[in-house]
């Protein structure tokens, strides 16, 4: 690797620069007293103050977070059950069929998920709004969780369960003391991915949301055509700092005790 010299570093720096450029651009102008995103006049906190005064915006933000957390939690629960179902399925044909079914929503374009759910909710009579958005987010997050958990189940040696059975463990104990702890990293990965997908989703929500309910994406979409105030910039600044802080914090907390344990596990 020493051979490659500086090239990797320059390349990675460029990638990181581009990846973060739009975000920092937004944050930079969130301090602009000028009110537009082109000429920086002087430094101000007023847009940040405006975020906390804008009740409508805060409600939309809460909607987004609540939908993301709830859908991630529920889809993780169902997804883990699904992964266990698929993994311990005896019938091979059935198993493959289930796996293909699982992948369908994963690879389905958002537009199709949105359009078909719109038909479904309209037919069943679910009012378009919080319920329909939450249900859709749960629905499209489940396969991601399954995909994250399945490899962990496959990694797990069946002798672990045999050993637990020999030692007199009950079904519940095997589940809670053997299987779940083993697949925990997969479950967490699934949960966070589900959270990401939900926070990031625009297309599906756009289709299935009604008049009274809006998430951040849908709101910005409708605003982007008429012109967005710098309040949104301030909000994105806040979101960035909070998410980056949470993720990095999570990383450092989980990684410290992990390092010595890793050697033991192997």
């Amino acid at each position: 690797m020493e051979r490659n010299g500086k090239l990797p570093k320059i390349y990675l720096t460029a990638v990181f620069l581009v990846l973060y450029a739009p975000i920092f651009y937004l944050i930079f102008y969130s301090f602009n007293s000028g009110g537009t995103m082109s000429h920086f006049e002087s430094f101000t906190w007023e847009h940040y103050a405006a975020v906390f005064e804008d009740k409508r915006l805060i409600i939309i933000l809460l909607n987004t977070v609540v939908v993301a957390l709830l859908s991630a939690l529920i889809s993780t629960a169902i997804g883990v059950m699904g992964a266990i179902t698929i993994h311990y399925m005896k019938n091979k044909a059935m198993r493959n069929a289930m796996l293909s079914m699982n992948s369908i929503l994963m690879v389905s374009p958002d537009v199709i998920i949105g359009a078909s759910f719109l038909i479904l909710f309209t037919l069943v009579g679910i009012k378009l709004g919080f319920a329909s958005v939450l249900l859709s987010h749960i629905a499209f997050s489940i396969p991601i969780v399954v995909i994250m958990v399945l490899p962990k189940l496959q990694e797990m040696s069946p002798t672990l369960i045999d050993a637990a059975l020999d030692l007199g463990a009950t079904r519940k104990e095997i589940m809670s003391r053997v299987i779940l702890p083993f697949i925990k990293p997969g479950i967490f990965a699934g949960f966070f991915l589900a959270l990401t997908y939900s926070l990031d989703d625009f297309a599906v929500t756009f289709f299935v949301t009604g008049n009274g309910f809006s998430t951040l994406s849908v709101e910005i979409y409708s605003m982007a055509r008429t012109g967005v105030t710098l309040t949104i910039n301030a909000l994105s600044g806040l979101i960035f700092v909070i998410t980056a802080g949470l993720i990095l914090g999570y990383y450092f907390i989980t990684n410290r005790p992990k390092t010595p344990a890793r050697g033991v596990k192997r």
Binding site: M1, P8, Y11, L12, F16, V18, L19, A21, P22, I23, Y25, L26, M37, S38, H39, I78, M81, G82, T85, Y88, K90, S100, M101, S103, L105, V107, S108, P109, D110, V111, I112, I113, G114, A115, F117, I119, L120, I142, I161, D162, L165, D166, T196, L199, D200, A203, F206, F207, L216, S217, I220, Y221, A224, I232, I239, T243, I247, L248, Y251, N255
Partner: protein, 286 residues
């Protein structure tokens, strides 16, 4: 012997019981949110605006308008996937060589946590006539360019959006790669390029394929970026479906386009599942 038998009986019971219990919500999900919606889409594709049974939607799809749309959709999706891969593969490769690679990977993923619409909105500002990109072009001496509302801006922003999703599976594949294989290849006299082509690339192909899968199909159906960044100049299958469902309210035609999109998707899915089966096979051999 007795113990083995007992264990087997117990194990079978355990499996069956836990299966039955965990099967219910997941199966319900499959029926309600996978099978039913697709069935409904197919069903609606046979109805016209006034609710009469018809094949007209399918006839319409095979007119030059929709065929052109399909071809251009595929072309853009291909471009987006190609450039995503071109940028992501070296990125993933260099990342695996870093000291705190997991942390760096996390830093790649963090931007994808920022709302998609916010990032798109930022690009409208960045690429605008009075944005920093044009300011830079002016100082360099190229002069102001219309960047926004062009094919370039559309592909660029789409690639930007998809890069983290492409990097992730490739990174995982590269990370799993046994470094001894590379050393062996080098020891056997292969140069860097041959090692890459004959050892690294084939062994990470599955990561690449799942990356392509998560980029290509969504790229076929982008509609928000086409509106905001490409200024309606680029029309994809996704834009057409959105138009039919939410603007024209012609669910029948929208469903027909969706049926074709699903068919394309199934083809791509079949290609990748055949591959996964191969992977599972090699896993078992171990």
């Amino acid at each position: 012997m007795m113990r083995d038998l007992k264990r087997m009986v117990r194990r079978m019971k355990t499996n069956r019981a836990s299966l039955r219990l965990s099967m219910v919500p997941y199966s319900l999900w499959i029926i309600l949110f996978v099978i039913a919606p697709i069935g409904l889409i197919v069903y609606y594709s046979f109805f016209d605006l006034s609710g009469n049974f018809t094949f007209d939607n399918y006839k319409n799809f095979f007119t030059s308008v929709y065929l052109k749309l399909t071809v251009s959709s595929f072309w853009y999706a291909f471009l987006i996937t190609f450039f995503s891969l071109l940028i992501s593969y070296p990125t993933a490769y260099f990342l695996t060589k870093l000291k705190h690679k997991q942390l760096w990977l996390l830093l790649i993923i963090i931007p994808s946590w920022i709302n998609l619409l916010l990032k798109t909105y930022a690009f409208i500002g960045l690429m605008g006539l009075y944005g920093p990109v044009n300011a830079l072009l002016e100082t360099v001496g190229i002069g102001k360019q219309q960047i926004l509302f062009t094919d370039f801006s559309f592909v660029f922003v789409s690639v930007y959006i998809f890069i983290p999703f492409m990097i992730l599976p490739i990174f995982n594949a590269l990370d799993k790669l046994n470094p001894a294989l590379i050393d062996a290849s080098r020891d056997l006299g292969a140069n860097a390029w041959t090692t890459f082509r004959r050892v690294i690339w084939p062994l990470t192909l599955n990561g690449v394929k799942s990356g392509v899968q998560v980029v290509f199909i969504p790229a076929l159906s982008l509609f928000m970026i086409t509106r905001l960044i490409a200024g309606n100049k680029v029309i994809t299958l996704g834009t057409a479906i959105e138009q039919q469902f939410l603007v024209t309210q012609n669910w029948g035609m929208g469903s027909t386009i969706a049926v074709f999109l699903i068919l394309f998707m199934v083809v791509i899915l079949l290609l990748t599942t055949a591959n996964e089966r191969g992977m599972a096979g090699s896993g078992k051999k171990r």
